[in-house]
């Protein structure tokens, strides 16, 4: 047997997809799955038309409508004519180029990063791209998945390939066990608070360790989803029995003998013992508490039991200025406990936390309780499939009985393109992934948190440690 040097999972997937590389040029990387949505694709299709090109592999291209779609009952008109035009263009482009489209009326429609895995399109060892930075979500399956710009969308449509420099690798090792009331969202917010929003720039993260292996697929997707918020090119988790069990029987997953052959291939993807990463970080899961952000980027996170940091404690002048500006925008006072801050809106949804497990977590807090007076609560399932399954187990009634709005699938208030948005000055606890200024509506203030913490805020009307509401839960 020939001796090969131990390699990481990322390197295996990368090597398997390099079509070729000229001296001095980036690698030509093959794309197995290209996901398309209405916001970042119209200019790419126009580019194809201008060059008289076709979509090279429509069979490897799948489209959905999610970003600017309404999540109120679908009979209502799309929120504005521009958004409607965008949706119309996507229909037209998919029809013209022979691309499968999960349109608004489709039973499989949903947020692009929710439906890819649901359909079984996202598989270990595949390369997955989309004109959307949270494509990193799909890395939860051991796929190499990353966001691209519209020019690159055009490149993939035309050639099924991208020009890419090989990223470096970052090992994020999370050992130990997460405590009760602490989940995947808290884990990833704790990591970003530690390494910062640029901490993983230029790297593909591989999450490993006991706490990662213990996560279910939904939790793994939450973690990989936010890799981009640390600046990472992608995030990956080795496929294992949890992954295979989740994928088996999905509409586009292999079946019969092909399934067994695929599982054998997928098992070989894990990082070899002794493989080297370019950098490494480790976290102790048992020390992580429910996290919440207090500022205007996802790295500004603290335990829900903590206090808003003081600009004077920032390491340098620029961090000091950024923190002072963030606190001014958020209306928070340095040194104040984050718990107890008033909340106007709670948003449970987005490609980070809109899957069935997320909704169950929120329902666990909301069951038998009422939303605090004056608080508006939106629960937006990530896909129609999630919606159906949630309704089948009665979660919609839990939310409605508590006084929350139960919506149709879409991005909704994560990006505030569809009419769901904060008014200036309003404070939201949101299970989404970005708390940038104005992200959820101009002047709106976003606190990122887990579904449990968001639901706790819905009930009390202020930032609340969810563990204080979970004592009686079985």
């Amino acid at each position: 047997m020939t001796q090969t040097h131990p390699t990481t999972m990322f390197e295996k997937v990368w090597a398997d997809h390099v079509v070729g590389q000229d001296e001095g040029a980036p690698a030509v990387l093959y794309v197995d799955v290209h996901l398309v949505h209405e916001v970042t694709s119209p200019q790419a299709f126009d580019g194809l038309r201008a060059r008289k090109l076709r979509v090279r592999r429509p069979d490897r291209t799948v489209a959905t409508m999610d970003h600017s779609t309404p999540t109120l009952p679908r009979a209502l008109a799309v929120v504005d004519p521009q958004a409607e035009e965008q949706l119309r263009k996507l229909r037209e482009n998919c029809a013209a180029f022979g691309i499968q489209l999960y349109a608004l009326e489709s039973a499989q429609q949903g947020i692009v990063h929710v439906i890819g895995p649901e359909l079984g399109l996202t598989q270990p060892g595949r390369t997955v791209v989309c004109g959307d930075s949270h494509t990193s979500t799909h890395g939860a399956f051991g796929a190499l998945a990353f966001g691209i710009g519209t020019s690159e969308v055009e490149h993939v449509l035309a050639t099924q390939c991208l020009l890419q420099r090989k990223p470096r690798t970052l090992e994020v090792r999370v050992d130990g066990k997460l405590g009760p009331g602490v989940g995947a969202k808290d884990l990833i917010l704790a990591l970003i608070a530690r390494i910062g929003t640029g901490g993983a720039t230029g790297h593909v993260i591989e999450y490993r360790g006991a706490a990662i292996e213990a996560l279910d697929m939904e939790g793994r997707m939450t973690v990989c989803n936010m890799s981009i918020e640390a600046g990472a090119r992608a995030g990956m988790i080795a496929p294992d029995a949890t992954t295979f069990a989740w994928l088996e029987g999905r509409p586009l997953a292999p079946s019969g003998d092909a399934w067994h052959a695929a599982v054998d291939r997928w098992r070989a993807l894990r990082t070899d013992d002794g493989a080297r990463f370019d950098a490494s970080v480790s976290l102790d899961a048992s020390a992580i508490e429910p996290m919440v952000t207090y500022g205007t980027n996802p790295g500004m996170g603290i335990p829900v039991t903590g206090t808003v940091p003081h600009p004077d404690d920032a390491p340098d002048a620029s961090a000091r200025a950024a923190l002072a500006k963030a606190l001014d925008y958020m209306g928070f006072v340095a040194g104040a406990p984050i718990a107890g801050q008033r909340v106007n809106v709670v948003f449970i949804g987005s490609c980070t936390n809109s899957r069935l497990g997320d909704l169950r977590a929120a329902a666990r807090i909301l069951r038998g309780r009422r939303v605090a007076p004056g608080v508006r609560v939106l629960v937006v399932p990530g896909s129609k499939d999630v919606k159906r399954r949630a309704e089948a187990e009665g979660l919609d009634r839990v939310f409605r009985d508590a006084g929350a709005e139960w919506r149709d699938a879409g991005c909704s208030m994560c990006i505030a393109m569809n009419g769901d948005q904060l008014a200036p000055g309003e404070v939201a606890v949101s299970t989404s992934n970005r708390n940038f200024e104005g992200r959820q509506g101009r002047g709106g203030r976003t606190l990122l948190a887990s579904p449990l913490t968001a639901a706790a805020a819905a009930v009390t009307g202020c930032v609340t440690d969810p563990r204080t509401l979970m004592g009686d839960a079985s």
Binding site: H17, V19, G20, G24, P26, V28, Y30, D32, V39, T40, P42, Q43, D46, G47, R51, L53, S68, D80, Q82, A83, E85, Q86, K89, G125, R126, G131, D132, S133, G147, I148, G149, T150, S151, E152, A158, T159, Q160, C161, L162, L163, R165, T197, G198, T201, G231, R233, R265, N297, S318, A319, A321, A322, I415, M417, R434, F436, E437, G438, R442, G443
Partner: protein
């Protein structure tokens, strides 16, 4: 085709902030367009205007000396956040040809170069120099030479080299885009497809 980038000498706008995210560069409500034109008007929309919609005269882009500047100087991790190529479209639409920053987010850097917008990552001392020169003289000019990969204050000796992917550099210097290169590799791509799974 993109507009070639060789050398540039221009006044510059300073945005003293790290982690300028793409939601600030162009807020999501402007992403409902289906073409690339006209996005310059929406650049930094929420920072340029006050909540009542009137322009904020203190915002750097609104200052009289900002008009005609082709270069934006900002802090670390410029362009973090979403993959929207609307961000470079808006920057180019406003008139910028180069962004000088301490560092860039990956996707933004890629998107910028594909639109003839040069990302120039400079070390802290050069960054300081540019900020200080601009404090002294609002008409200070920066000189960028892509072939030599240098940045300087105009009329001054080059103060530092910047790194750029050699392939992207060639594309920018000659104004060619990557798609032509990829299309020329279709035979290799077909060969790859015939020998690989998934």
């Amino acid at each position: 085709m993109i507009e070639p980038f060789t050398t540039l000498e221009s006044t510059y706008v300073v945005l003293r902030a790290d982690n300028v995210d793409t939601d600030q560069i162009i807020p999501a409500r402007f992403l409902k367009v289906t073409d690339k034109a006209g996005l310059g008007d929406a650049l930094f929309s929420d920072w340029r205007s006050r909540p009542d919609g009137t322009p904020d005269p203190d915002f750097p882009l609104n200052r009289p000396e900002a008009q005609g500047a082709r270069v934006l100087v900002a802090g670390a991790n410029f362009g973090c956040g979403s993959s929207r190529e609307h961000a470079p479209w808006a920057l180019v639409g406003w008139g910028f040809r180069a962004i000088v920053a301490l560092s860039f987010a990956d996707i933004f850097r890629q998107n910028a170069m594909k639109n003839g917008l040069l990302p120039v990552a400079v070390p802290a001392d050069i960054h300081e120099l540019l900020l200080a020169a601009r404090e002294l003289d609002p008409k200070a000019r920066i000189a960028i030479d892509l072939a030599a990969q240098t940045v300087a204050l105009a009329g001054d000796a080059p103060r530092g080299r910047f790194d750029i992917d050699p392939f992207a550099k060639e594309c920018l210097l000659h104004g060619v885009d990557e798609l032509g290169y990829l299309l020329a590799r279709l035979p290799d791509i077909e060969r790859h497809e015939s020998t690989h799974f998934s």
